[in-house]
């Protein structure tokens, strides 16, 4: 977990820099186009998701193939607020009902949409709903000691089931099309440059906050316990600890972080639909962490930004190659880079320091 604080700081500084460059007049040579700000915001939201995945995979040894579910639930909570914020400016001009409900000829708002006209409530829900779902799911799973590949498969089943559910029009979340066409957030125009720049900086702050909170959580006694559970669960249990409780705490915290990432994602991407629940998305999030380096937190951020940057570039330039690249990334990372880029750096540092020491030893031996 070295350098988590540096990573957090770097993210905030970089986002401030990008926002500043974007606010320069359009003629200026250093001016950053608007889409780049949106992209950076999206990457940061993904980085938050990656941190969440790293928390459970890197530190608790739970390979989650369904974390996108928590991300998307946070996103949907935020999307519901943004949907209500549209008010009467929708296509049908109905102040009480979002467009898709008017289209489905619903007459009144479903009960679970109430309260989402208030931003604080929506934010609370963006954290609470993923946390509660994760709590329920984790409590059941860890209690009966489902672990390893089985746990991975049922996390995948969870997000798959949610995807199917959200595709249904009857669910009241816009079905196939999801929630989109947002206008503003807390009175600020979502398409305004200043709002987008602020959201970017906010994402960086939330990411930094998630990193620092994770560091605090993992740093102390709890962190040691978690490592013990990851590496020798039975032995920890025999020592009198409750591995299921330990895992549940980090699992719920991770879902909370993922939900926050999802909420930020929606504000900057402008759409949330059931596709976000797709199992493939969750597995992709795992590869970000694997590329960056599992169990390092900073690696998760690095991996998310690098892989998604690569995706943006490749899908723009050579769309057919992207899946080859992603597939090879999975294969090569697991085969040759088991500790990710961070491991490369740490390994490189160690090798460097070993070489330096060897040289100084040799120097010392030659000196007398």
């Amino acid at each position: 977990m070295t350098g988590v604080r540096t990573t957090a700081l770097a993210c905030v500084v970089a986002s401030l820099l990008l926002a500043g460059l974007n606010l320069l007049p359009a003629g200026s040579a250093l001016h950053l186009p608007d889409f780049a700000v949106g992209l950076a915001g999206k990457y940061l939201a993904y980085a938050i998701l990656a941190v969440a995945v790293d928390l459970v995979w890197g530190f608790a040894g739970i390979l989650t193939l369904g974390h996108a579910a928590f991300f998307a639930l946070g996103g949907y909570a935020m999307g519901m607020y943004l949907m209500r914020e549209i008010g009467a400016r929708g296509v049908y001009g109905n102040a009480n009902l979002p467009d898709f409900m008017v289209f489905l000829s619903w007459t009144k708002l479903p009960w679970y949409w109430h309260g989402f006209e208030h931003l604080p409530f929506a934010l609370l829900m963006a954290l609470l709903v993923p946390a509660v779902l994760a709590g329920l799911f984790g409590w059941l799973a860890f209690r009966s000691r489902v672990s390893g590949v089985y746990l991975s498969i049922i996390t995948q089943a969870l997000t798959y089931a949610l995807m199917l559910a959200f595709f249904r029009n009857d669910m009241g979340f816009g079905g196939n099309n999801g929630l989109t066409d947002f206008k503003d957030i807390a009175g600020f125009d979502l398409h305004a440059r200043s709002t987008r720049a602020s959201l970017l900086v906010l994402s960086a702050l939330v990411l930094a906050g998630a990193l620092m909170a994770s560091r605090a959580l993992l740093g102390g006694r709890f962190g040691s316990l978690l490592t013990a559970v990851r590496d020798a669960e039975s032995r920890t249990r025999f020592l009198g600890y409750r591995p299921d409780h330990v895992k549940l705490v980090v699992w719920v915290f991770s879902a909370l972080v993922a939900g926050a990432g999802g909420a930020l994602y929606v504000t900057q991407v402008g759409i949330i639909n059931p596709g976000e629940f797709a199992p493939a998305g969750s597995i992709e999030a795992v590869i970000w962490v694997a590329v960056g380096g599992r169990g390092t937190l900073s690696g998760a951020v690095l991996g998310a930004i690098l892989v998604n940057g690569g995706k943006t570039l490749l899908t723009g330039l050579l769309p057919e190659l992207w899946l080859y690249a992603l597939g090879l990334l999975f294969i090569l990372t697991t085969l040759f880079l088991p500790r990710g880029l961070m491991g490369l750096r740490a390994g490189g540092m160690r090798r460097l320091s070993l070489r330096l020491r060897a040289r100084s030893d040799a120097g010392a031996g030659a000196a007398p």
């Binding site: 390979l63 799911f137 059941l140 799973a141 209690r143 009966s144 000691r145 489902v146 390893g148 590949v149 089985y150 991975s152 498969i153 049922i154 995948q156 089943a157 969870l158 798959y160 089931a161 199917l164 559910a165 595709f167 249904r168 199992p279 493939a280 597995i283 795992v286 590869i287 694997a290 057919e320 899946l323 080859y324 992603l326 597939g327 090879l328 990334l329 999975f330 294969i331 990372t333 697991t334 085969l335 088991p338």
Partner: protein
Amino acid sequence: MPEPGTGIGGDPTPVTCAPVLTALEAAPLRGSATTAGRAARRRSRAPLPVLRQHLSGLLFILLLAPLGARAQDAAAGYADLASGNYNRIAAGVTALGASGDVRAETVLHALAGHTLWAQRGGGLFIGNAGGHAGHFLDARTGAPVASPPPDLRPVRLSNRVREALDASLALLDLRSPSTPRRLAAAESLFDTHAAAALPVLDRALASESDPDVRRALAEARAATLLSARPLPPDAQALPAVATLRARGGLPARAILAGVTGGDPAIRQAATEALASIDLRLRLWSIAQDLFYGLSLGSVLLLAAMGLAITFGVMGVINMAHGELVMIGAYVTFVAQSLLGSPGLGLLLAVPLAFLVCGAIGIAIERGLIRFLYGRPLETLLATWGLSLVLQQAVRSLFGPTNIDVVTPGWMSGAVAVGGLTITLNRLAIMVFAGLVMAALTAVLRRTPLGLQMRAVTQNRRMASLMGIATPRVDALTFGLGSGVAGLAGVALSQIDNVSPNLGQGYIIDSFMVVVFGGVGNLWGTFAGAATLGIANKILEPVAGAVLGKIVVLVLLIAFIQRRPRGMFPLRGRGVET
């Protein structure tokens, strides 16, 4: 069988005569050609709404009305066909059907096949469907026409004409020497059950000898009787109710449900018959759901069997399994295109897909998985990456869209068993899944390789100590599992869209089956597949397809909480490792 041209409409009843007379009165006299066809032509302009309402009945009546001058009727019928007016064409069809003209059947079939052409002057020709090219026959005489007649337009069909055409053809078919055609005609008359067909049915029943056709005729007669208003006397109606009750099915139910007036005895009989039919329908529908469930289960079994083998022996979750299934389906496509024959191609594809996918599997094991033993989660990620590569490779080679895998003739269509509709391709897949499972069980139980595989499953280290080359067994096992995936692809190509995404749709389901059934146990996989398939299909009508699937997934998640290692977990010393 009555002779053509003499039988139909031989003994008019008062019922059939009266509306004809009304119709004739409604039609203004037009020279000497006051034929049935002309009368019907006037019908649409007739000021009597009753006549319009009883359109199809009238058509039948006209069909059965006594017609003295048949040649003249046929001539008028031909003239009506050439008229270009839908009402007149319909009337002409009816007149021709009743006329007994030797050419009538050919001409009506030509009309049904869109090969009948008319000239403005009244000429009528049978040509080809394409257009004016080719040679033509004179419809009236059957004589070839030397040069293509000028000024041709097709005789078009409206729904009304089609109705008349069906009725006429069915009546003509009742006199056909071919038993299947008579049977089809009787069934068609059951569906139309127009009151006017009754005398014809009676006469056909009297002369029919084939028991199936007799039954169909009796059912058509019963339907006709019970659709008549007012209802016939009890002596006729009660046996008719019994006939329909014995027949069952939705059309019979609809006719019986319409019996509301009449005698209490009849109503009572009809109500009881309805209850009996409803019960049978429900039972058949449950049986149908079971069939669909087993069919889905066999598909899941095929897709999951290979996974059960690879995961069971090696503890390797192969996320590229779905892509191997997909490749099996593409092998079928290639085999069919190379051989040019869907049936042979499909048969060849079975061993070919096994070999191709088996070889790919061995390559995957040697090139990727063996470096990752003991790290199941990393294996999962690496094979997922491989699945993306394979998918994209197939997409680059064959394009992203669905390809057309042909279902051979002997596998398409359906047979009805009672109220069950058994689609042949699904039946074939169920049989195929059973065969594959039997073969796989035999390999595992009866061959040295199977013995070694089981030894490695149960205790890898001990097996190795006993001199089993575990790496070789691993490679062959993985090859076997992948080959079975290829076989699943061959089967799936017959019922599903074959596209590069084919495998993704099955991978989660197959994992569910394996996890549900318990790892490394073929019977567990079988039980898991059958249970999940049937549960899905039984929940579908109740909760809808998507919600049913969600319920199954949630139940499965709950099930894994209780039985983390599946229904039939492996037991033994080697399990935990």
